[in-house]
Amino acid sequence: MFFLSAVILFPLLGGLALLFFPREQVRAIRMTALGLALIELLLVLGLDLAYLQNSVSLFSSSFLHESWRWFPDLGINYSLGMDGISLVLVSLTALLTAICIGASFRIESKVKNYMAFMLLFESGMLGVFLASNLFLFYIFWEVMLIPAYFLLGTWGGERRIYAAFKFVIYTSVGSFLMLVGIIAIGYYHQLAAVAAGGTSCGYTLELSQLLNTSATCHGVLDGTTQLWLLLAFAAAFAVKVPLIPFHSWLPDAYSEAPAPVTALLAGAMSKTGVYGFLRLCIPLFPQAIHTLAPYINVLAVVGILYCAVLALMQTDLKRLLGYSSISHLGVIMLGLFSFTAQGMTGSVLQMVNHGITTAVLFLIAGFLEYRTGTRRLQDYGGLAARIPWLAVMMFIAALSSLGLPGLNSFTGEFLSLLGAFRANVTLGVLGTLVVVPAAWYMLRFFIGLMWGVPATEGAVSANLRKGGIRDLSLGELGVIIPLIILIFYIGVQPAVLTGIIDPSVANTMQVLSSAFVK
């Protein structure tokens, strides 16, 4: 009965427990944090097994569903639920957190706080993926923001304060609009339910009640109300994804945050935005989402191509990866808003794939920055001979990112774009076109770092002369290898994931189509 709560709260409590460690026991703190993250990963694996054995849907009252009264008068309950979509994202988050904590052993200052924030961050994200009450969703949404702010602002690079402020302000503007939307949706839903004949219908923020079309207290919001509410929700999610033109925080945040944090931001946190669209916006506002979808699709396509072109000439490696990340998330959005089974399944699949691939890329960028002290592409060159394993790992990740057939990202992007193409040929073609600049900038990235002749001046060559650039250490290898294996495994056998995702997507699509039958 407490399984989902345990999954969410374990990292939070673990992080709190970590605070009681003596400050100077750095090694113990690191190992404990990693241990906690690994135990959490085991818990999530248990969750996977449990789900696979009793395939449940979002609101079925099974042991993978919890509901405790909290402020029932305000429609606020502590209720959790899950389906296949939540499952894969929860698994991704737990995996990436464990890996990013493992990759954070080089953090030297305030290790205790860092680790506690990482675990808190994990709790926030897991909560977002599992909450099935709007208010609870909002709470976890904000819980996620706080550790992200501190991780970025305390342990980041030179311009960390600027980046952290920008990040928080962008996200909170979105979040507050969402809060307004949440308060309003309960109100309007109640009005609509009463108007529809329910005499004593209360104010509710419970997702299951808002969506339950068969109940007496179900009101159908009219189109205009839906649209305004949707815009309020979409504001929060569009910033988080991000959709252009709400992406300006991202290059700064991604390039200034320490690499493991960036890996977690790009790998897991950006998925909460897409998840919000999928879990809340689409089922709650089925009519309005159809009105808005073309605009979102256009923004997604523009973002895909615009950011791919931008990535071509970036000079900072993390910034380049940041733009590439926005571009790929555009593909995910395009797939999602195609409203076809292929596009939506592909979009969820691609969320997992993008999380894995982008995490590897950012971690490797971090390894390189640690070795050379610079992120400027011009300083690099010809490192493959010196650090072959690092080069190989980076190459695999780069190939995955550019969508090489046979690796993980291809499966997701293919399905997403197939769906997009079926929904709208023009957008599908334009979205697919991204493979060309993507190959171009990813290869330029790889070649600029690893191939060619070593740079003769700058930080890298100074380090090279001192012999200070070494290949992957065992620890780094241990961090990267699980993700590399997944890159291959999902590429070869995506059916394992699509088998989980597809039925849940079908349920979502049913909500979407039943709204239209009415």
Binding site: S248, A311, L417, A439
Partner: protein, 660 residues
């Protein structure tokens, strides 16, 4: 039927994995054991399957085997499966067979390279990818193979990754090939939209609406044009010569670049549904054949001559497919694989003997030193020039014959022109091949004596290459030039034999043996029975003219270069245009690449930097400014606040008093 196709696929993969993970620590013999072993066993498996297939009745020669369930999403569901039929069988034999010979040759060619293991790992990977491409039973795994061979090609072009030119060439090859992947992806989307499935068995029997069929066929052809270096996407192939020469032989001549020809042959039912698309295929094929041949006429780098020649020959194959004679295209693919691989390997032997020299101006007179190489090179040159009875004669003849017959049947004047282009190109082919042959082997050795004053861009690249520590260690004295070791000469000899007899698998109808046509009979009848049947007279006209063109070309080359090659400056603008490859690279650079990069830089600086980042900073400045102003109100003096309260109260009271 014994079907070992899965092993053909997996053995090279296994070889790649072993070499990739452990090759660094393995001795040379172990590397060769794995590398050769993987490819050799794959060839053996292919051969066993082939003979087993020959023993089966023609109707049961297709085997479609599902390996595992790959993905499902809504109505989209796909299995990974292997399709072994005569077409993929032919390709498998060519890929693993020529691949094996080149694996053997490479042991000698790459013997001094410190990354010996890496080379064989990549070669094995390429064989795996290419087998995947030809053996997949659906379009999606075709795309997987399509992408993976592109990757293999990228890795091998950029094998010497410290050479700037090699790196640039690798990147260019990959990106242009991705344009092809883009076309293939869109074609797949359309196919799924129309047929609801992607496996060949379902798609190729499906009838699409005419417009869709044309769109699919054209998009497939975009992919073919990129992979097989047809206009306008051919630019990467000449640059791809930066890779080690065995790679040029295997990937950029014999196998990978023919993937486009294979795809058209594989998807011929789709092309049959769209006459317009087929006309495009034929037209592009003919145009490319002529265009590339003209460039090859004046090139100085021996590998570039061969590269343009490859592009031109691929054009022939598409020409054949464009007139419905798919099996003739495949036939030329097979014979071309023999003689072009041989030409490249021969060129490689020359380059090896001259310690990395590729410039024809610094060769000459090598007939005396490189006897085996010279002889095999001569055979291959005769074969590609279409001289009877070498392999190229039969296949080229069949193509030209069916183009003429098709023109005759449809009465469409464009096909006569296409045929004339084919004949013209045949003559040019003979000319540039023998220019090359005489340039390398005839006359006196020009290597040690002169520093040729050239103004082409070759020199800069070579200096860089020399700086990077590979390639071209400076001129070699004539007497110290040695012919290649047996490990390299044996593949040359085998390929030479195949270049002589390889053509006999084609049709002998010309010589009164109408039933002798093993290859065409082996391939499905539908792959050639849509082709036009010309009368024997027509065939003889075509054959005679193409032979004549070939002989004329050789004769001209003999007159000009028989005594040795001499480079003369020529300021004729037409010559300059062709000599500089029609300035295509420069134009592309100016029209596409520089603008895109400039756009990226501009957007990055102004839109991202000034507008968006600046905008958010502007908003924050606005707030800060407002608050700087507002904070003055917060004096910190109690009495000011109290006064404020008082005034507020007064205002409220006055308001209510006035309102009553």
């Amino acid at each position: 039927m014994t079907n070992l196709s899965l092993w053909v696929l997996l053995l090279p993969l296994l070889g790649f994995i072993i070499l990739g993970l452990a090759g660094r620590f393995m001795p040379r013999t172990a590397i060769l054991a794995v590398g050769w072993g993987a490819c050799g066993l794959a060839f053996l498996c292919a051969a066993i399957s082939f003979f087993s297939m020959l023993a089966t009745p023609a109707a049961q020669r297709t085997s479609d085997q599902v390996v595992y369930h790959w993905i499902s999403a809504g109505t989209f569901s796909l299995d990974f499966g292997l399709l072994l039929d005569p077409l993929s069988m032919t390709m498998l034999l060519v890929v693993t067979g020529v691949g094996l010979l080149i694996h053997i040759y490479s042991a000698g060619y790459m013997a001094d390279d410190p990354s010996f293991w890496r080379f064989f790992a990549y070669l094995n990977f390429f064989i795996f990818a290419m087998v995947m491409l030809v053996i997949a039973n659906n379009f999606l795994f075709l795309l997987v193979g399509w992408g993976l061979v592109g990757l293999a090609s990228y890795l091998l072009i950029g094998f010497w990754y410290q050479r700037r030119s090699a790196v640039a060439a690798a990147q260019k090859a990959f990106v242009i090939n991705v344009i092809g992947d883009f076309g293939l992806m869109l074609a797949i989307f359309l196919i799924f939209q129309g047929a609801g499935r992607l496996d060949y068995a379902g798609v190729l029997t499906h009838t699409f609406p005419a417009a869709t069929a044309t769109a699919i066929a054209l998009l497939l052809f975009v992919a073919c044009a990129a992979k097989s270096a047809q206009l306008p996407l051919y630019m990467w192939l000449p640059d791809a010569m930066e890779g080690p020469t065995p790679v040029s032989a295997l990937i950029h001549a014999a196998t990978m670049v023919t993937a486009g020809v294979y795809l058209v042959a594989r998807a011929y039912p789709l092309f049959e549904q769209s006459p317009a698309a087929l006309a495009v295929v034929a037209g592009i094929g003919g145009a490319t054949a002529l265009f590339a041949a003209t460039i090859a006429l004046f090139q100085l780098d021996i590998k570039r001559v061969l590269a343009y020649s490859t592009i031109s020959q691929l054009g022939y194959m598409f020409m054949a497919e464009g007139v419905h004679n798919y099996s003739a295209g495949i036939f030329h693919l097979v014979t071309h694989a023999f003689f072009k691989a041989l030409l490249f390997l021969g060129a490689g032997a020359v380059i090896h003997a001259l310690a990395g020299e590729q410039d024809m101006r610094k060769m000459g007179g090598l007939w005396g030193r490189l006897r085996v190489t010279g002889l095999t090179f001569l055979i291959a040159s005769l074969a590609i020039s279409g001289i009877i009875p070498f392999a190229g004669f039969w296949s080229k003849d069949e193509i030209l014959g069916s183009v003429l017959a098709y023109g005759n049947q449809t009465g469409n004047v464009w096909y006569y022109i296409l045929w004339a282009i084919g004949i013209l190109t045949a003559g040019m082919t003979a000319f540039y091949m023998f220019r090359l042959f005489f340039g390398i082997f005839a006359g006196d050795y020009r290597g040690a004596s002169v520093a040729v004053n050239d103004n082409t861009n070759g020199d800069v690249e070579e200096q860089e290459a020399a700086a990077a520590g590979h390639h071209h260690a400076g001129p070699v004295r004539y007497n110290s030039i040695h012919d290649v070791a047996p490990v390299m000469s044996i593949p040359l000899i085998i390929l030479a034999i195949l270049s002589v007899i390889g053509g006999f698998i084609g049709s002998m109808a010309l010589f009164g043996l109408p039933n002798w046509s093993p290859l065409a009979n082996f391939l499905p009848a539908a792959m050639h029975n849509h082709a036009a049947e010309g009368s024997l007279t027509l065939e003889w006209i075509s054959t005679g003219l193409s032979l004549l063109a070939g002989v004329l070309g050789i004769g001209m080359a003999w007159r000009l270069y028989g005594k040795g090659f001499a480079f003369k400056q020529n300021s004729n603008p037409l010559y300059q245009l062709v000599f500089h490859k029609y300035y295509v690279d420069e134009i592309l650079n100016a029209v596409l690449i520089i603008p895109v990069l400039a756009l990226s830089r501009t957007l990055s600086r102004y839109l991202e930097g000034d507008v968006l980042d600046g905008g958010s900073r502007g908003i924050s400045t606005l707030f800060r400014g407002t608050s700087t102003f507002m904070r003055r109100v917060q004096t910190g003096y109690m009495r000011n606040y109290a006064l404020g309260i008082l005034l507020g109260v007064v205002v409220i009271i006055v308001y209510y008093a006035v309102r009553g």
